[in-house]
C-alpha cells in the first residue's frame, strides 16, 4: 500500500523544542521545554516517524542536542530521522548505532561533497540528503549562507552517488504557514527520480493532500512543524485524512 508519511518536526535549541521563522535564529518561538514530551504526544497521535533537527548543531557544525534525540529513539516506539551538526563518520555512526533510523546530511552536501558521497556509499538508504533552497539555490550553514549551486543540480548529482531520499526545504515558505512550494518540490522529485520529503510551509491538511497527489512522482512525505504547534490541525487528523483512513 502506498502511503504518504507525515513527519512531525521537533527542532531543538538549548535542549528546548523551538520553531524558527524562515530559519532565522533571531526569530525563535519556544513550544516546549521537553522535546521528549512533545515527541511522546506525537507518537500517541499515531506518528510513525519524527523529524528532529539539532539547530544549535547546524549552526556550530558539531552535534549539540543529540542526547535529546537519542532519548526519543531509545524510549519511544517511533522511527527518528535527525539532522544538524553531523559532519563526521563518527557522528553518523553513533546516531545509527543508537537507534536512529535515518541521518540527514545537509549543508555538508555542498561544502564537503566527498564526505557525503562516502557516507552514501557506506550507509546507503540510511542517509537522507537535506537540501534547503532559497529561490532555487542551495542554502547552507544553518541557512545563514546561500550558495551558487542550483538545488536540482545538487539533487541529480547526489542521486547518482546513491542518495535515495531527499528532504527538500523551501526556506521562503518555512515557518510561514503560506503553503508549500509544490512546484519546486515536484521538480526536485522528477529531476532526481528519488523519494522527496517536502518541508516548509504546510499550514493545512489540504496542503498535505496537494502534495500527496504527486506521490507517484516521488513526493512521499511531508514534514509538518509550526502548523501542529499552532494547532492549525492535529497530527491524528492529518494522518487519517491524508491516507484516507
Amino acid at each position: 500500500m502506498m502511503s504518504f508519511t507525515i513527519f512531525p518536526a521537533i527542532d531543538l535549541r538549548g535542549g528546548k523544542c523551538v520553531r524558527l521563522l524562515q530559519g532565522d535564529y533571531n526569530k525563535e518561538t519556544v513550544y516546549g521545554d521537553s522535546p521528549f514530551a512533545v515527541a511522546e504526544s506525537f507518537v500517541k497521535e499515531g506518528a510513525d516517524w519524527i523529524h528532529m533537527v539539532d539547530l544549535d548543531g547546524a549552526k556550530e557544525g558539531v552535534r549539540v542536542n543529540h542526547q535529546h534525540v537519542l532519548k526519543v529513539a531509545k524510549e519511544l516506539k517511533v522511527k527518528v530521522q535527525v539532522g544538524g551538526g553531523i559532519r563526521t563518520e563518527k557522528d553518523v555512526y553513533e546516531y545509527l548505532e543508537n537507534g536512529i533510523s535515518r541521518v540527514i546530511l545537509g549543508s555538508s552536501a555542498v561544502s564537503n561533497r566527498s564526505f557525503v558521497e562516502k557516507m552514501l556509499a557506506e550507509y546507503g538508504g540510511r542517509i537522507a540528503i537535506g537540501i534547503d533552497a532559497k529561490n532555487g539555490y542551495v542554502s547552507t550553514e544553518g541557512w545563514l549562507n546561500t550558495s551558487e549551486v542550483k538545488a536540482v543540480d545538487l539533487g541529480k548529482e547526489l542521486a547518482k552517488s546513491g542518495a535515495e531520499t531527499f528532504i527538500f526545504t523551501d526556506i521562503a515558505t518555512d515557518g510561514m504557514l503560506s503553503g508549500p512550494n509544490v512546484k519546486a518540490i515536484v521538480e526536485m522529485a522528477k529531476a532526481t527520480g528519488k523519494t522527496v520529503i517536502a518541508s516548509g510551509g504546510v499550514s493545512s491538511i489540504d496542503d498535505l493532500k496537494k502534495l500527496k497527489q504527486y506521490e507517484q512522482d516521488g513526493v512521499k512525505g511531508a514534514i509538518v512543524g509550526k502548523a501542529l504547534y499552532t494547532k492549525k490541525f492535529s497530527l491524528r487528523d492529518a494522518i487519517h485524512e491524508v491516507n484516507g483512513l
Binding site: 548505532e97 543508537n98 537507534g99 550507509y123 546507503g124 538508504g125
Partner: protein, 203 residues
C-alpha cells in the same frame, strides 16, 4: 552464489563493491524465496542490535537463516552482522540474537579507549581456520562500540586489542563472523573475503 542479505540496516554498497572486485557471483536481496537460491550468505549491518533483530524477526529472516545454516549453507556476519550471530546483546537492555555462537555482545569499556572504536588494529591469529588460511597477521579496519564476549574460546580465530580483547574473527562450523570490515580493510580484508568464497566453493 553468495546472497547478501538486505534487511534495511545497510551497508550493502561497500560489501557489494568488494565482491565485484573479486569477480564473485553474488546478489543482494531481502526476498527469502530469492535468497534461498544462494549457496552461502553474507549478513552485513550497521546500527542497533535490537533494531536489527526486530527486523530479522519481523521478516522471518531469523528463522530462514537458522534453517539455511542447519542445511549446511555458510553464513558470514560482518560487524553488527557478526554480533547478531551470538546469543544476546546488552545494547539497550538484553536482546536475543540469532544464537549460532555462544556469547554475549557487550559495550566496549570506555575507560582507557575512545568509543566507538574507529580505526585500524592488528589481528592476532589464535588458531588455523579457513578464513585465514595462507594469510599473515596485519591491520584491519574496525567501526564498533560493542564486542563479543565468547563463552567458548574455541570459536575465536583472531583477536584484536582495544582496551579489552576483541574477538575479531570468529567461526564455528559453517558460521563465520568478522567484527571489522573486511571490505574496507585493504589487502588482508579482501584476502579474508576471498578465503570465504573459496571455502564456499568447496562445500
Amino acid at each position: 552464489m553468495i546472497g547478501v542479505i538486505d534487511y534495511g540496516m545497510g551497508n550493502l554498497y561497500s560489501v557489494s563493491k568488494a565482491l565485484e572486485r573479486m569477480n564473485a557471483e553474488y546478489f543482494v536481496s531481502s526476498d527469502l524465496n530469492e535468497l534461498e537460491k544462494a549457496t552461502a550468505y553474507i549478513l552485513p549491518g550497521v546500527g542497533a542490535f535490537k533494531d536489527a533483530m526486530a527486523i530479522l524477526t519481523e521478516t522471518k529472516t531469523d528463522k530462514f537463516l537458522k534453517d539455511e545454516v542447519q542445511k549446511g549453507k555458510a553464513l558470514l556476519g560482518i560487524c553488527l552482522g557478526m554480533q547478531l550471530l551470538f546469543n544476546e546483546s546488552e545494547e539497550h537492555g538484553w536482546t536475543e540474537g540469532l544464537g549460532f555462537l555462544n556469547g554475549q555482545v557487550k559495550r566496549i569499556p570506555g575507560e582507557n579507549v575512545k568509543v566507538p572504536h574507529m580505526g585500524w588494529n592488528k589481528l592476532a591469529f589464535q588458531r588455523d581456520h579457513p578464513l585465514i588460511t595462507g594469510l599473515q597477521e596485519d591491520y584491519v579496519y574496525f567501526v564498533h562500540s560493542y564486542y563479543a564476549v565468547v563463552n567458548d574460546p574455541d570459536v575465536v580465530v583472531a583477536n584484536a586489542s582495544y582496551g579489552v580483547t576483541v574477538p575479531a574473527i570468529v567461526g564455528s562450523g559453517n558460521v563465520f563472523g568478522c567484527q571489522f570490515h573486511p571490505e574496507k580493510s585493504g589487502k588482508l580484508g579482501l584476502a579474508i573475503l576471498k578465503n570465504y568464497l573459496t571455502f564456499v566453493s568447496r562445500m
